[in-house]
Subunit: 531 residues, 2 copies
């Protein structure tokens, strides 16, 4: 295809969504008109499934749940008046609460003000807030800072959060987010942070807000300890689609982001992507291109390349949204399908100096989704050459890379947004949420559960139970040096010797556990002794 | 295989490197003894190629260059006394310079001290320093802060760097790193930062240090403007293997990291991985496992999962090291091979809440490299349950996830380090550098060039040249409204209409360019006018 033919293809397929300032260009994907025709029926069935979902069907059959994240920005579509009222009340409560915190009406102590925000959560409880914070935040000296505690790594909690916050912890509002209320990583981090407040003689409850489902452990704790506030989340909102619930809106509102813009952008994108006219529905086009690129079975990785530093976390956000939704062993009929689409990426043009070499020349196992932002910055730009700005270079590298990949038969799409603001970010989130839903229907899987994550948690529980038995056994015979093999036998777990060995290596590397390791002739002959 | 058989396999294959406190466990990779035998000859040839490289052969034939990053931590192995002297002098110069900066002997103004560091660079010039800074740094209030400017994104420079530094810019030491001295992203960011110093009436030269090759543009600029200092980099060090040159050592030394530990860990790992005895050579084992997992053609992605927040940038560092080195179209004999290995990942257990669902149940297109750190934190840990710490949970989730993936036939390796310190970080870098070199030999490609990145840059240059012609044309007829098609014709580039259209959309979205867009009946009928 020559340049003018490509231009015709570009014009034919460009999907412009004026109300949200977003376009999708699929002209550099190698699909044919025949492909779109062949997919017309599955696509229409996917629209029907989405309509059923939006009107309150049990779209997550395994867990017997409705899937309601689209109602969060259009409460009038909720299937019951109670749900509608719950959404509307929560949004207005969040705005009022954030306003009171920002005005100092809600404060850590008389005459003080909350200066920093700490969000404790993991997975869907923080990936959205992290992405939105990075996309919309402009850290300046003296401004509200936001921190995320998203793991159960002790050193990560110390140096990633507590060391950075330092003595401002006294004026830090801590949000603990856990849908179920019993996520161990979140609970552990909360306990560590509680202790940090205590070390500073600060009352944790007077600094804490919870976001959780009613009736869960966190809900009970929050009520019992009289935390400042509790915001609800509901069983019909999945963690990975919870950005427009309190999970995402509360941190956004506390930072002064345009919450109505976020909701409005998502709502408008929802409206646009409900259309059954595929060529003007960017979510349908995305889903179709994913299907085309990976033969409907994820045979190509999705590389997410925003040319804008603010959007560097988009790929991490989409990793969860897409991989956890689509990476499934069985389809809705119980057939083993091993579905999914792998997602990775950081940002351009930085990544051109990292892995574009492989994308252009190497293993052909991917397609690229570029994200372009037309507006370079607030205010004027210095000219780095006559009539040329840094932003022109960024634009040039994006366009040049699109062309260089196309020359080599590597497929790409481009999403262009006018600028990064609350409205376009809301629209981007809604766009991908719906593309995931439509694609899941096309490949006949449940996008709204995650049955595969339980096995790792259960195995972890077994490891921790084994550790308890070991610690007890070691403590019963203080001063006695035994090998991993001997200890495994002592606790009647001889076949668990490998796990026992690993537990002992971990415990003895941490001096506060007071378990001494004495090297042996091989690593496996080392002995361990409780002091 | 039952648990005891797995334990035997674990013991048989565990590669423990005592001097650097690192182990590699390959027992959960599904290779057979037959595979290791079959690979014995290619492996020995790879060792020979590595020996030739280390003794100064032209290991990068396309560019006619030696490949000398191993000499950086063992200068006595350099092929000439001049190279040895250059390495040794540079290391001691860096230490002396960092000491002078940290003591205030080298200062922005009398009585002041450099408080912050800004590194401007992209790709190999910053990925190493970013990784090492995050692995070894412990930001505390009041400490030296480090910032990275790694793109030509105007907004990214403003809010990612300049807004954060604020008025501390006066006391910020800026390091400009560009091997060639003409990387446009780096040059643009430097010009933007120069202007920021000027806006504060600060002399840039009195705050600036360069790292560049002799005789290049940056070298000339630095000398002409009398910057504080220039540190060399040499043509026999590739960007992606430059962490042990001034590129990595200068930022490390300025932050007070243990430079000798970094160098010593790498040096020791080099010594260990020169061994031709495969089972005690972790670099050879890694390379073999990559070959096994991806059939020697990168058919499976490499997921990097460190269970330690400090190591979250390891995957991004390895993305460049591995994908840019291995992602090649042709082999050394000129055959088209489309090689490479895709690398992605963030950190555990956080990623268990993102994409482990897909890894366990979904498309089977990957193998995992876990990284375990035995030491949890400095100081004692609060117990989150009886006898149980947050670190135990982290360990439990790692072990549980290894088991859960193994149950489903998903392969994984585990690198265990005693703790994250300069020595283990140096060892990790050296381990992967050599694994890449050995694997490249096994698949017969040049790991030390990047011919595929030029196309995107050349295409970008064409875009910027086209833009210049457009701006000139628009300026010649101010006030005249024309469509993209008309303007493309006016500058005699009718077949470039798509690029012209995109340039105009970008320019007109930025008010300081003073090009007005007037909508038409379709997006392509919009007209553009220079004010």
């Amino acid at each position: 295809m020559n340049q003018l033919e490509l231009w015709e293809r570009y014009k034919t397929h460009l999907c412009r969504c004026e109300p949200v300032g977003l376009s999708l260009d699929i002209s550099r994907m190698g699909f044919t008109a025949g492909f779109l025709e062949a997919m017309a029926d599955p696509m229409q069935r996917a629209f029907s499934a989405m309509e059923a979902l939006e009107s309150g069907a049990i779209a997550n059959p395994d867990e017997g749940r409705m899937v309601g994240h689209y109602w969060l920005r259009a409460p009038e579509l909720a299937p019951t008046p109670d749900i509608r009222a719950a959404i509307e009340t929560t949004i207005s409560d969040i705005k009022a609460f954030a306003s009171d915190v920002r005005s100092g009406k809600i404060a850590p102590a008389p005459g003080q003000q909350f200066e920093d925000i700490l969000v404790i959560g993991i997975g869907g409880s923080v990936l959205g807030p992290q992405f939105v914070n990075d996309a919309l935040g402009t850290p300046r000296q003296g401004r509200t800072r936001i921190f995320f505690c998203d793991n159960t790594d002790p050193d990560g909690i110390d140096r990633g959060v507590l060391d950075r916050i330092g003595d401002r912890l006294d004026r830090t509002l801590t949000i603990v987010t856990s849908k179920s209320g019993r996520t161990p990583e979140t609970r552990n981090a909360m306990l560590e942070v509680m202790q940090a407040y205590a070390r500073r003689n600060q009352c944790f409850s007077e600094h804490a807000v919870a976001i959780s489902q009613e009736g869960g452990e966190l809900d009970r704790l929050c009520r019992a300890q009289k935390w400042i506030r509790l915001f609800p989340i509901w069983d019909w909102v999945g963690g990975r689609t919870s950005q427009m619930s309190a999970v995402g809106l509360l941190p956004a509102a506390l930072q002064g982001f345009d919450v109505d813009g976020l909701l409005g952008g998502a709502r408008e994108m929802d409206r646009i992507t409900r259309s059954r006219v595929v060529r003007s529905n960017p979510a349908a086009l995305l889903a179709l291109m994913w299907y085309h690129a990976g033969d409907g079975r994820g045979s190509r990785d999705m590389v997410i390349l925003p040319y804008k530093d603010r959007l560097v976390l988009l790929s991490r956000y989409l990793q969860q949204l897409i991989m956890e939704s689509l990476g499934k062993e069985t389809d809705l009929d119980g057939n083993v399908v091993h579905q999914g689409i792998t997602v990775y990426g950081n940002k351009g043009s930085t990544d051109q100096h990292a892995y574009i070499q492989q994308l252009r020349e190497g293993v052909h196992n991917f397609f690229v989704t570029f994200v372009e932002v037309l507006r370079d910055r607030e205010g004027p730009s210095v000219r780095v050459e006559p009539h040329t700005t840094s932003g022109d270079y960024l634009f040039g590298f994006l366009t040049g890379t699109q062309q260089a990949l196309h020359e080599k038969g590597r497929e790409s799409m481009t999403i262009t947004i006018d600028e990064v603001n609350a409205r376009t970010v809301g629209a981007l989130i809604a766009l991908f949420e719906r593309a995931v839903g439509l694609y899941a229907s096309m490949i006949n899987i449940n996008a709204y559960h995650q049955p595969g994550v339980q096995a790792g948690k259960t195995a972890a529980r077994r490891v921790l139970d084994l550790q308890l038995r070991l610690i007890k056994e070691l403590g019963t015979h203080r001063g006695r040096a035994r090998t991993a093999g001997q200890l495994a036998a002592s606790i009647h777990a001889p076949s668990d010797i490998e796990t026992v060995y690993k537990i002992l290596e971990h415990l003895s590397a941490n001096p506060d556990r007071k378990i001494t390791r004495t090297p042996g002739t091989t690593p496996f002959d080392a002995t361990y002794t409780a002091e």
